[in-house]
Subunit: 343 residues, 2 copies
């Protein structure tokens, strides 16, 4: 690989001048510039980013830590982030933490050594106090899918509102006995979705029954088991609101195996709006989160922090959107074949 010195030698100038041409900084004569550029071309020179990073202390690299890229909620977040990063000349380093705090910490430390310019944490399990404590020695951090009150960027969607809309929809479909398969207890968003569920029941004057809530962990198999448990506890069940789509899909499977008809016997609503939700049978009503936008916005926030040096921390809350499909439309469930929206 040719270096800046080779270019300088070939063009008959000093490395300083080549550097100035490269960065468009300082004065450089028109004709020398052309000479330099042609040397660059003929040597097929590409500046070494590592060397550049060492002196500028910027790597144009952003670390993205998420639980598991295999989980269909995350790829779109990543895509949003990567697209936006690429536009701005940044690269993304991907890390899978498996919802494991320790692994998250390891990755954070690796990223710090790697001198990334920023970090995006999706669905982190790290405590707010820990995050705030490391923020001082870290490049800017954006937390997605979790609201951090203090000195840190965060992006989330309004889980309470989304869950409230989902449960409200089930009520509007005539369901009165509505179960909830919740997310993991430590998860803030899971708790918020539960809260939205309770709030909707409250406002409809329906008492909250603890036995109608089964704890899950966002995985498909758990959703299936939870649905079975729910049916065991309350055979009269009319609707299930699941804290995410994967569990809802597991629930659909259980219902089918137990010969319940969806939505006629039991209506089901999920959460997240993963691509798969549209193609299960019956197509799953779900609360769509703006995942792509979340990744995109995260990069924008980091960019503002890094390049514009904007110190104010932003807490962005995006709106989730209830997308009604067949799994919950009891009124018009048989005749109305193509009511679902296509994007």
């Amino acid at each position: 690989m040719a270096t800046i010195k080779d270019v300088a030698k070939l063009a008959g100038v000093s490395v300083s001048t080549v550097s100035r041409v490269l960065n468009g900084s300082g004065y450089v004569d028109k004709t020398t510039e052309e000479r330099v550029l042609s040397s660059i071309r003929s040597l097929n020179y590409q500046p070494n980013r590592i060397a550049r990073s060492l002196v500028t202390r910027k790597t144009k690299t952003i670390g993205l830590i998420l639980p598991d890229i295999t989980n269909p909620f995350f790829p779109e977040v990543v895509r949003g982030a990567e697209d936006e990063a690429h536009k701005r000349g940044y690269n993304i380093i991907l890390c899978n933490s498996d919802w494991d705090e320790e692994k998250e910490q390891v990755y954070l430390s690796v990223l710090q050594q790697q001198c990334v310019d920023g970090v995006i944490l999706v669905g982190t399990k790290l405590s707010e106090s820990y995050l705030v404590s490391i923020a001082a020695t870290f490049p800017p951090i954006v937390v997605i899918d979790r609201t951090i009150a203090l000195d840190m960027h965060s992006i989330s969607s309004n889980n309470i509102q989304g869950a409230y809309a989902a449960t409200g929809h089930l009520l509007a479909q005539g369901c009165r006995i509505i179960g909830h398969i919740s997310g993991p207890e430590q998860s803030v968003s899971a708790r918020q979705r539960m809260q939205g569920y309770r709030q909707a029941l409250d406002e409809a004057g329906i008492p909250f029954l603890p036995e109608l809530v089964v704890g899950g962990d966002y995985r498909m198999t758990t959703g299936k088991a939870a649905a079975a448990e729910l049916l065991r506890r309350s055979p009269q069940l009319e609707g299930i609101f699941c804290a995410n789509d994967l569990m809802a899909i597991g629930a659909l499977e259980q219902l089918r195996e137990a010969s319940f008809r969806v939505p006629r016997d039991v209506a089901v609503v999920g959460y997240d709006g993963i691509a798969m939700s549209r193609y299960v049978y019956p197509p799953l009503t779900t609360v769509v989160q703006p995942t792509y936008r979340m990744g995109e916005r995260a990069i924008q926030l980091l960019f503002d922090s890094i390049e514009r040096n904007q110190p104010e921390f932003q807490h962005i809350e995006l709106e989730p959107l209830l997308e009604i499909r067949k799994s919950s439309t009891r009124r018009a469930c048989d005749e109305n074949a193509s009511r679902s929206r296509h994007r």
Copy 2:
């Protein structure tokens, strides 16, 4: 951030000694080592990878270029690669090329500037000659999902064999008029799958009819349209072998909308084994590719090239596996659908 100099000063030794402790290279006295280690701890020192990379010319970073992380075939490949990379102390830089040759080239160049130690190309559209031509000036490259004959690592699964098994399965189910929704023409794997399809028909003594093949591009909507076209051309259709699962899922949707029963009227088989395939209705028979393993093996190959300096290029071919589900089993297809509960 503390540097190696700070550590050296605090421990009362030279930077060389600290470096030796850090890398476990050369002689260093037991007690000095402890003194250095405790200085490292008390300063919370972390070696700067950028500086290290500049001199060692190794970044412990691997670039992974794929078409679109949002496409459910890829996350598992990425996960396999990332897990294996993490074990070995490497990081992954993720790039989405959108099946766009130009974007692939841009990313390759960026990765080269970034001095990655290796590159994984998944489903690249770049020509073999181009790849071979850049290989000389590049870090080691592994091509996944494409066999490169020449001087380059490659990992693929046997597409002909997989497609042959899929089509053979449809024949075994009694299908005689079997359509094929193919992948993009430029794609080698797509052509191979077509070849396996033809071969199976051949051996069963069934003539190959060009009108039973509709060209697709691996996307769901195309699969849907292609299925419609296939039904228009040949209403007697008994089976469809799709070159990937997404198109198969699109086909299922079309068949449902056109009131064909799957698998009784038309049996459907997909390819890839994406997670979603299990949860559509009816569950999709598919040729499962060992995606996780492909990513994993790719890293192993790169690792051998980088650290062990093994020069021989390997062409690994993994076995795909036909996973039979309801979308193609014509014998026992009805019972489940009509067993709904009445109360």
